[in-house]
């Protein structure tokens, strides 16, 4: 998708019956005076051209000659004309090659030669592939004619005699055939820092070359069998010389033929008599026209019935009028999708603005602090955002992710106690790459549009050895056995029954069973995050310690010499020798009588196996330099986040920093339920880092210099909101003073109560039955999270509709049904619009991605979504396919989008509400390319709540990209 093109969702489906279509839901056909002659009313003026009546999935409307190279490849044309199945076979062979090459550790026997790149790796195997040769595909001969992918593409296209001006169109059609795989290859080629891309490089040119080689081989094989020339000029000439025959052939082979004609057409085509085929074509055309006319008449009558027009009235209309009705209906059908989309959006905008208006009225009535807005008056700038300078005693502030699922929890939390909640992107403005304890890789915890420059490392409190439990060892052994060639036969007999118990436990008592299983697993030791920058001498010391540890392990393994028999100078000497800083015999060799040859082997092993060598040391030093944040940077990040949400004074004693994540079993889409702002991971680490930074005395001193005074008694406490169970768990409590801990019991109770209320709402949305109250709901959602048969543990971000950028007062106390992204923002603290700039260019863009992903997934779940997840299989550890072989599935599964056959998510563009003066918003948009394009090209709907004019300005996108603001009055909280 590009933001430069205009107007999405032109063919959006009709929304479900639950949707309020409102006054904008214009009728799609005539509402009065329409008449229908019924099913027997074949129009007399139907166009005789058979192609006219092939809409939708029935058949293409243009001829082969017109479509070749634009919509059809050569093998598509051959498939449609001669019933070959080249496209299917080509996709199958292609997918197998792609699965082999892109595997990221799932297969036991990996494809050899992948380091050479996709094309060369595949070509090396294809040249020796006897199965291809047995199928009649002479791939080796083709591959022998060119070495690199570009030359191969040129060779194939030349050999097929495709005119060069058509090449780009042809490539586009080829890429669209397996759009999931092509998209993945494109992403990989651009992800230069991605480990697997560095290791096994691939790009779209290679992809195209492989596809074209296979296509050429298959076409040549089919040509030999059919005794036909299937190259471009020959196919084109055939299509132009036999247009009627081509139509019948396409109808027959595409499965769109009238069933009762199938046999006759087959016989006529077998006989090959031109006159016979022409006569049959005319019969067929007549019959098809007649049936299509009946279908259309039936539709008109059905619409007339719905409009309350009786059949007799319809029949009384002249033929011409009826034809006009039919034409009007079919013309409207083409625009129907967008019509419904706009109707949905307007309805939602109207409801949302009514909610905001009501919230302002309610706040004014309750506190008397609101005054009726006066047009043109600018509210006085507060000292610090929306929070009063002095909070009520015991008020707790809590930062939540802008995610739509936070809205429910925030609403209930505010209702059960004294809580001020704020919305901020769930990475809390801390882009970081995280290295978890026990894991060797970095995970980027930030939006996909940001590249983290800093690394946070998790370090355990103690240096006790982390040993695997017996259960984990057994699990590992069984896993390894499953992956060998012969062992599975024995393993099934030996331990198969255990898997039966596992299945019964997971299926029938998931909560109890999973709790028991978790006890068997060894727990991760308590760990802290290393977030401060390491000085160079500290880094060198750390590296030296690591190298010494490696030396100790190597000595023990090679010579069975324990630590107590070694001295520090001996270790140092070995390390320096391995690093090339000294030469000659070592003390170790002298004392333990190690032969010079064995000593040399040992030193070599240290360098290669244990990586104690100068190059590795340099790399490790570079990595260490990335760890942590400078104090100044920490202060910058905390200040930016606090200003962004409008909290610069009036801090409570407790500030919760709530990241979010989800829990589900057997769910390849789990990351779609986690935090989008954290790159599809959980937001806890970012919350912990932010809280740790904000609690630092040195950071607070720097913040105070910038005018953000955080009192000493204020404590930032990280927490994790499990969006599947709505449980909130507080973290890093061991770093709190006993006094601070006493405050937490009430907060934890409040969080639990709010979570149970959320669970009750969630159960209603999920359609759970037998829920008697919040407690039962909490138990049910917990079960859903642990149940491996549960295809819908939660709805996730489905039904997302709006993004409110403004003060919480706009929506406080209103039930937004978990459909709104809420970003706190106070324009009074942002006269130049810098904070708004960062919100519009970061969180808004991510929210728009999420919205569009849902939009397209629900509009056509099979094409843009991933279909039912019941049939999904994980392949290569990076994606899912349907069944055992299919295009790589993109988008979201049916279980996230649909409830039964009706859409759960409503396909509407993100309604972005910004509370700020219109001039400010326009000035910001003028500076930002991406958000401006999103607004002007109609990818989002922008509503500006202008406090200066007390008007809601709705941007209406025009056809030529020029839009206009439409104003309506609204009350806003003062």
């Amino acid at each position: 998708m590009t933001s430069n093109s205009q107007v999405p969702g032109a063919d959006a489906p009709r929304p479900g019956p639950a949707v309020d279509r409102g006054a904008d839901a214009a009728p799609t056909g005539p509402r009065s005076g329409a008449a229908d002659r019924g099913a027997d009313a074949a129009p007399t003026k139907v166009r005789p051209d058979l192609a006219v009546y092939r809409g939708g999935n029935v058949a293409p409307t243009a001829s082969i000659a017109e479509q070749l190279g634009r919509d059809l490849t050569l093998y598509d044309a051959a498939d449609q004309l001669f019933g070959t199945r080249i496209g299917e076979t080509l996709n199958e062979l292609m997918i197998k090659g792609l699965m082999d090459f892109f595997d990221e550790g799932q297969s036991v026997w990996r494809m050899p030669g992948r380091k050479q790149g996709f094309y060369r790796g595949w070509a090396n195997i294809a040249r020796r592939n006897r199965r291809l040769r047995m199928r009649g595909l002479d791939v080796a001969a083709i591959l022998g004619q060119a070495d690199d992918p570009e030359a191969m593409i040129d060779l194939v296209m030349t050999r097929l005699e495709v005119p060069e001006p058509r090449w780009m169109d042809y490539f586009t059609v080829e890429l669209a055939r397996l759009h999931g795989w092509a998209g993945f290859v494109r992403w990989r080629s651009q992800a230069r820092h991605y480990y697997w891309q560095q290791r096994n490089p691939a790009d779209l040119v290679e992809y195209m070359a492989v596809r074209l080689v296979l296509a050429l081989a298959l076409l040549e094989d089919a040509g030999r069998r059919l005794k036909r020339d299937l190259r471009w000029p020959a196919l084109l000439a055939y299509a132009e010389a036999h247009p009627r025959e081509c139509v019948l052939r396409r109808e027959l082979n595409a499965g769109t033929v009238l069933p009762d004609f199938a046999h006759r057409i087959e016989v006529a085509l077998d006989r090959g008599s031109g006159a016979g085929i022409d006569a049959l074509y005319l019969d067929y055309e007549r019959e098809k026209t007649k049936r299509e006319a009946c279908t259309r008449a039936g539709r008109v009558q059905a619409m007339a019935d719905q409009a309350g027009i009786c059949r007799q009235v319809l029949l009384g209309r002249p033929d011409d009028t009826l034809h006009q009705y039919i034409d009007a209906i079919y013309a409207a059908k083409a625009r129907e999708g967008m019509l419904w989309t706009r109707a949905l959006e307007r309805t939602h905008i109207r409801q949302l603005l009514a909610q905001i208006d009501a919230a302002a009225a309610a706040a004014g009535a309750a506190g008397g602090t609101l005054k009726a807005p006066v047009a043109g008056e600018t509210p006085a700038v507060p000292v610090a955002g929306e929070t009063p300078a002095v909070l009520a005693a015991g008020t707790v502030q809590a930062f939540f992710c802008i995610d739509v699922r936070s809205e429910r929890l925030r609403r209930h939390l505010e209702a059960v106690g004294d809580y001020e909640t704020y919305g901020i992107a769930g990475f809390f403005g801390v882009p970081v790459a995280f290295v978890e304890f026990g894991k060797g890789h970095e995970t980027a915890l930030c939006p996909a549009i940001v590249t983290p420059r800093n690394v946070a490392v998790e370090m355990p409190h103690t240096h006790a050895k982390h040993e695997h439990s017996l259960y984990e060892l057994a699990h590992e052994v069984v896993h390894d056995l499953k992956n060998t060639v012969l062992a599975p036969y024995v393993t099934v007999e030996a331990v198969g029954l255990l898997f039966g118990f596992d299945m019964v436990g997971k299926t029938f008592v998931p909560r109890v069973y999973n709790t028991w299983r978790q006890r068997l697993q060894s727990r991760k030791p308590p760990a802290r995050l290393l977030i401060d920058k390491i000085a160079e001498d500290e880094a060198r010391e750390l590296l030296t310690n690591l190298q010494d540890e490696m030396v100790l392990r190597a000595v023990e393994r090679h010579f069975a010499i324990k630590r107590e028999d070694l001295t520090s100078p001996m270790i140092r000497e070995l390390r320096e020798t391995a690093l090339g800083n000294r030469k000659g015999q070592t003390e170790l060799a002298r004392r333990f009588g190690v032969e010079p040859a064995a000593e040399a082997v040992f030193i070599r092993s240290l360098q290669v196996e244990y990586r104690v060598n100068p190059d590795q040391a340099q790399i490790q030093l570079e990595h260490l330099a990335k760890i942590g944040f400078h104090r100044k940077r920490q202060a910058q990040l905390v200040a930016a986040a606090l200003r962004g949400i409008g909290l610069t004074s009036g801090f409570g004693r407790t500030v919760l920093v709530v990241g979010h994540g989800s829990t589900s079993e057997n769910n390849p889409y789990e990351s779609a339920l986690d935090c989008g702002a954290c790159g599809g991971d959980q937001g806890l680490v970012n919350a912990r880092i932010f809280a740790a930074m904000a609690n630092r005395r040195e950071v607070r001193e720097q913040l105070a210099e910038q005018g953000i005074a955080i009192p000493d008694e204020t404590l930032f406490i990280p927490a994790l909101h499990d969006t599947t169970t709505d449980e909130v768990t507080l973290f890093d409590l061991d770093q709190l003073s006993p006094g601070a801990l006493t405050r937490l019991s009430r907060i934890q109770e409040d969080l639990a109560a709010a979570g149970r209320l959320c669970a009750a709402e969630r159960c209603a949305e999920l359609g759970e039955r037998g829920i008697t109250g919040p407690d039962a709901a909490a138990r049910r959602v917990k079960r859903n999270a642990l149940d491996w048969t549960q295809v819908r543990p939660e709805w996730g971000l489905s039904k997302n509709a709006s993004f409110i950028i403004g003060r919480r007062a706009l929506s406080r106390g209103r039930n937004l049904e978990g459909r709104a992204f809420l970003h706190s923002y106070d324009h009074r603290l942002d006269p130049k619009g810098r904070l708004l700039e960062s919100i519009l260019s970061g969180p808004l863009v991510v929210a728009q991605w999420i919205n569009m992903e849902h939009f397209f997934s629900v509009v056509d779940n099979e094409a843009f979504g991933s279909g039912s997840k019941v049939y999904h299989n994980i392949i290569g550890r990076f994606g899912v396919v349907t069944g055992n072989l299919s295009d790589l599935r993109t988008g979201l599964p049916a279980q996230t989008m649909l409830r039964g056959d009706t859409p759960y998510h409503h396909p509407l563009r993100l309604i972005t509400v910004v509370e700020a003066p219109l001039k400010l918003v326009e000035a910001v948009l003028a500076r930002l390319y991406k958000p401006r394009e999103l607004v002007h090209n109609g990818w989002i709907r922008l509503v500006v709540l202008d406090p200066e004019t007390s008007q809601a300005q709705v941007y209406e996108h025009g056809n030529g990209g020029d839009g206009a603001w439409q104003a309506q009055p609204i009350r806003l909280p003062a």
Partner: protein
């Protein structure tokens, strides 16, 4: 010299328990279109009667030939058993590419009944297996005829996704196809089991290879048939009308009767 007398009887039986190329006659008959309203044997019911009656005649001829051949003619029946096995495999293999319903069922009929020869060579009483295999095809025969009446032709790939448009019919169709390809516990399954258990004692190779391979190919072809008719995305330009409750009951009753016959077959085997 009894085999000389038995040979013509066996050859005649080869038309009824079809052996290639004598099987061409049966297949032609199955695919024959009615010449007019009076052409009773080309009507579905007439054809069904013939298809059910042919194996009975075949069994009689085989039994008579067996009697005439005596103990010295064992080699002759072995030859016919080999011929039957090869015929069965040939038609089972061709079944994989058949798309037309009548061709499909004709080839399955040939492939199934040719297996009776395999049992006959090893002293398995052929009557019940022959009846079981033939009767198992009857529900599918009538349902395919129903498709022909509705759409003008019974063929895979022309109107996929019937399960979404005609769920009752599809339920019956799935059950009928499964019965036709002799899945447990259809009469066909017991018939195949009867042939297998009876024949394996005397010649495992000659009995089990054709039986198991043919059975494998039938089930594969059955899945192909279901995929092209019951599953998939339905076309939007066709009119669909599901079977009514009465027809559903009639066909369901027929399937139940077939299941009952399967039990009788088991009783006969025991």
């Amino acid at each position: 010299m009894g085999w000389i007398l038995a040979l013509p009887l066996f050859l005649l039986a080869g038309f009824c328990l079809p052996l290639f190329p004598l099987s061409i006659a049966v297949n032609r008959f199955v695919q024959r279109q009615p010449a007019g309203a009076g052409d009773r044997f080309a009507q579905p019911r007439g054809k069904a009667l013939v298809l059910l009656g042919l194996p009975l005649v075949g069994v009689l001829l085989v039994q008579a030939g067996h009697w005439l051949a005596g103990d010295g003619g064992g080699w002759l029946i072995d030859v016919f058993a080999l011929w039957g096995g090869l015929t069965s495999l040939l038609y089972a293999f061709r079944l994989l590419s058949a798309r037309d319903g009548q061709i499909w069922i004709g080839q399955l009929y040939t492939s199934a009944l040719a297996l009776v020869w395999v049992g006959a060579a090893h002293d398995v009483p052929p009557l019940l297996p022959a009846l079981g295999l033939a009767a198992s095809l009857l529900p599918l025969w009538f349902l395919l005829d129903g498709l022909t009446c509705r759409f003008g032709i019974a063929r895979t790939g022309l109107y996929p996704g019937l399960s979404l448009r005609m769920p009752r019919f599809s339920t019956l169709f799935v059950a009928a196809v499964l019965a036709a390809v002799a899945v447990p516990f259809s009469p066909g399954f017991f018939a195949v089991a009867n042939l297998a258990f009876g024949g394996a004692a005397s010649n495992e190779l000659l009995t089990l290879v054709p039986l198991s391979l043919a059975w494998l190919l039938w089930t594969w072809a059955g899945i192909n048939l279901l995929t092209g008719i019951v599953f998939g995305e339905p076309r939007g330009d066709l009119d669909y009308a599901d079977v009514d409750r009465r027809t559903m009951l009639v066909h369901g009753g027929g399937l139940a009767a077939l299941a009952l016959f399967g039990l009788i077959l088991v009783e006969g085997m025991l």
